[in-house]
Amino acid sequence: MPIDYLPILVFFVVAGLFGVIALTVPALLGPHRPSSTKLETYESGKIPYGDAWRKVPVHYFKVSMLFILFDLEVIFFYPWAVLFRRLKLFGLIEMGVFILILLVGYIYVWKKGALEWE
């Protein structure tokens, strides 16, 4: 029922209120004396060399791609798990086939070395 989700909206609004109050009040309470050294990026005392927003080799790219694939497949388990008792033997066999297909992809990914760190 949609009314069940009303408390979540209440939580969101109240928590947001807490965020706004708790972040603005201390900002007004504390001292405010900016200086160019203070506002500089802190990189262990070294003078920052260029911007951080540059092209970097992302080692984690493949991992995130795999995550999207696996997460989508795992989502299919939820309705199956809830209805498992009602699905009788059919549900078991059907999911066995699904997991088998998932497993083939998983083994392929592993053998291809996509899970290795370079």
Binding site: Y5, F18, L23, G30
Partner: protein, 390 residues
């Protein structure tokens, strides 16, 4: 909750039931988002510092107040009065939004956490799925903080966080699905009701996977690569000061509590215990005490882990998630599904025994596979050493 609504309407006869319910919800949300952060953070930082100190043969905080108990309040006041700095190169909007999101993401999980019999924000029919979905907000907050700071260390940390949280989300979801499968529902109330025997005893493998993945999701040691002090300074929050830094801190400790609470609900039977019931106020209070005791026990276990394990290396961390937890989780899922369908295990007691046996079998298989793989790596390494000597 319903009892309070009834009491309110009897107190103010002209008040309609929906209004009373809304007021109760607002008060409940206000308690959890205004009072809980302060209480939880002060209590658990104190507990953590004392526990870690014991493990490391120190005393821990002992200056502020009796036994150092006021240390947390002293820290909070210090944080409140610190200067608020936005570094010159930062992306202002995202930079200021991130700490707020870090806390909101955790508070939203509270909405479906059953803390006592009948006391829950809303018992959604997709409760546990909602927890996983909202958990993503925390990841977003960390990524936003790391990116907007315009600091190379922060950015590196943000990348690590995404790789880590993403790698451990899948085993966690599989562990959750094993519970949903056994309970037959995603509703928190139903999951608790299904645990005549806590799932910790029938599904120990699922509990182990959930527990480990949870530590990784919070980013605590030994999975604290996102803030590995010796490598990337403080990680994603290196540029944050004062209350904004405190917000990440609050977020982390609330996340600690909430995830231990979810683990309690899923595996330890939630508020269940002798005498706990929805019928009376005493029963509800007793349920709350049971819930708190179990949650604090789990938090203590997490602190124990933090005190005794060294930090993982990033490739080991990803390997452990992808190559150990995921296959073990899938194996357990299949085993549990098979046991639940076996016709001769129709009585509940037999089913519990069957589940336990299946889980033990999975543990044996997993350990055998690991030791086999380790032996193979060792022999390869030995051979290469021998070859180099020759």
């Amino acid at each position: 909750m319903d009892a309070i609504v009834l009491w309110l309407t009897s107190l103010f006869p002209q008040m309609a039931v929906p209004t009373a319910r809304l007021i109760v919800h607002i008060v409940y949300a206000a308690i959890l988002s205004f009072v809980a952060p302060v209480v939880l953070v002060v209590a658990f930082t104190y507990m953590e510092r004392k526990v870690i100190a014991r493990i490391q043969d120190r005393v821990g905080p002992n200056r502020a107040g009796p036994l150092g108990m006021l240390q947390g309040f002293a820290d909070a006041i210090k944080m409140l009065t610190k200067e608020d700095i936005t570094p010159a190169g930062a992306d202002r909007i995202v930079y200021n939004l991130a700490p707020g999101l870090a806390v909101i993401g955790v508070v939203l999980v509270f909405a479906v956490l059953p803390v006592a019999p009948g006391v829950i924000g809303t018992d959604l029919s997709i409760g546990i799925l909602y927890v996983v979905a909202v958990g993503g907000i925390g990841t977003m907050a960390v990524l936003m903080a790391g990116w907007s700071s315009n600091n190379k260390y922060a950015l590196l940390s943000a990348f690590r966080v995404v790789a880590q949280l993403v790698a451990y989300e899948i085993p966690m979801v599989i562990a959750i699905i094993i519970v949903v499968l056994t309970a037959g529902s995603m509703r928190m109330g139903d999951i608790i009701a299904a645990q005549n025997v806590p799932f910790l005893f029938t599904l120990p493998v699922a509990f182990f996977i959930f527990f480990v993945a949870n530590i990784a999701e919070i980013g605590r040691s030994p999975f604290d690569l996102l803030e590995a002090e010796s490598e990337i300074i403080a990680g994603f929050h290196v540029e944050y000061s004062g209350m904004k830094f405190a917000f990440f801190f609050i977020g982390e400790y609330m996340h600690l509590f909430v995830s231990a609470g979810i683990a309690t609900t899923l595996f330890l039977g939630g508020w269940r215990g002798p005498g706990a019931s929805e019928a009376s106020i005493l029963g509800a209070l007793l349920g709350f005490v049971y819930f708190l005791a179990k949650t604090v026990l789990l938090i203590f276990a997490m602190m124990w882990v933090r005190g005794t394990f060294p930090r993982f290396r990033i490739d080991h961390l990803l390997d452990f998630g992808w190559k150990f937890l995921v296959p073990v989780g899938l194996l357990t899922l299949v085993a549990v599904a098979l046991v639940l369908k076996l016709p001769f295990l129709s009585s509940p007691v037999l089913q519990w025994v069957g589940l336990l046996v299946a889980n033990v079998a999975v543990i044996v298989v997993a350990l055998a596979a690991v030791s086999l793989a380790a032996r193979r790596t060792r022999s390869v390494a030995l051979r290469s050493v021998a070859g180099a000597e020759r």
